[in-house]
């Protein structure tokens, strides 16, 4: 006999936890942009602008993925 588990509720709870992890990661991505700026201020190299661009795109993508996950909750 298949047990009557509240699977739907468990899956939604799991998805919410995943989204919370994504939010925490987005905060880390934001901090990383600040760190890259500080690093570039201390040592400026020909790749400084590229690193800042990568950090910014990384942060934007981490926010986008939260929106995508929330839509598909």
């Amino acid at each position: 006999m298949v047990p009557n588990l509240p699977i739907r509720q468990l899956v939604i709870a799991g998805k919410i936890i995943v989204i919370l992890i994504m939010v925490l990661y987005a905060v880390f991505a934001f901090i990383l942009t600040k760190r890259v700026k500080l690093m570039n201020a201390n040592l400026t190299t020909p790749q400084s602008k590229l690193f800042e661009r990568i950090a910014r795109i990384h942060m934007v993508l981490s926010i986008f993925v939260i929106i995508l996950a929330t839509i598909n909750l």
Binding site: K15, Y25, R35, A55, L68, A69, N72
Partner: protein, 184 residues
């Protein structure tokens, strides 16, 4: 490719915070690229993981119904790759910004988080030595550079440098030349 280079002479368009107007960076030293092998291996595994985890996850069903919808799985995969890119980027920056520089005036040591900067004038430099350690150090020609000074910070050490003997020789020659020019 200069971005992956661990010993650069006269680096282009490179300055550091606190650089004097008449100061020029002559050597820029980073750890050998080989020291990154650990996190590169981990990154490679992280990149491949969704290929094995995603298919069974998308096929997960309960009482004939899919447990996780395809849209959420796409978001999960995207998040995983963004996380992996963040992991690669963070580790690369930690290597890239951990430098030892020798200018025509000073020796500057910047640590990986770029928050600790130590510097001393070339006139304080007393001795430059190198040390190759372990079997892998001998095989890959990787070792440590030690710069003894008469300043408050007695020693600058820079670990896991490629070709440490050549680097030591170049730095010692430069310090001697500049000291001779300055008459110290």
């Amino acid at each position: 490719m200069e971005i992956l280079s661990s010993f650069i002479k006269n680096p282009r368009k490179t300055t550091y915070g606190g650089e004097d107007n008449d100061e020029k960076i002559i050597f820029l030293l980073r750890k050998s690229v080989i020291v990154n092998i650990n996190w590169v291996t981990v990154a490679f595994i992280l990149l491949l993981l969704p290929l094995f985890v995603s298919p069974p996850l998308s096929k997960l069903t309960y009482m004939g119904m899919r447990v996780i919808n395809p849209g959420f799985i796409l978001a999960l995969n995207l998040f995983w790759y963004i996380f992996t890119i963040g992991f690669i980027f963070q580790n690369f920056l930690a290597w890239y910004f951990d430098v030892l520089m020798v200018t025509n005036k000073k020796v500057i040591d910047i640590d990986q988080s770029c928050t600790d900067v130590s510097e001393t004038t070339l006139s304080n430099v007393q001795d430059v030595s190198s040390k190759v350690k372990g079997t892998w150090g001998v095989v890959l020609d990787i070792g440590d550079i030690f710069i003894q000074t008469s300043a408050e910070q007695r020693e600058f050490e820079f670990l896991d440098v490629s070709n440490p003997s050549k680097v030591r020789d170049e730095i010692a020659d430069l310090v001697a030349k500049i000291k001779k020019r300055n008459g110290s």
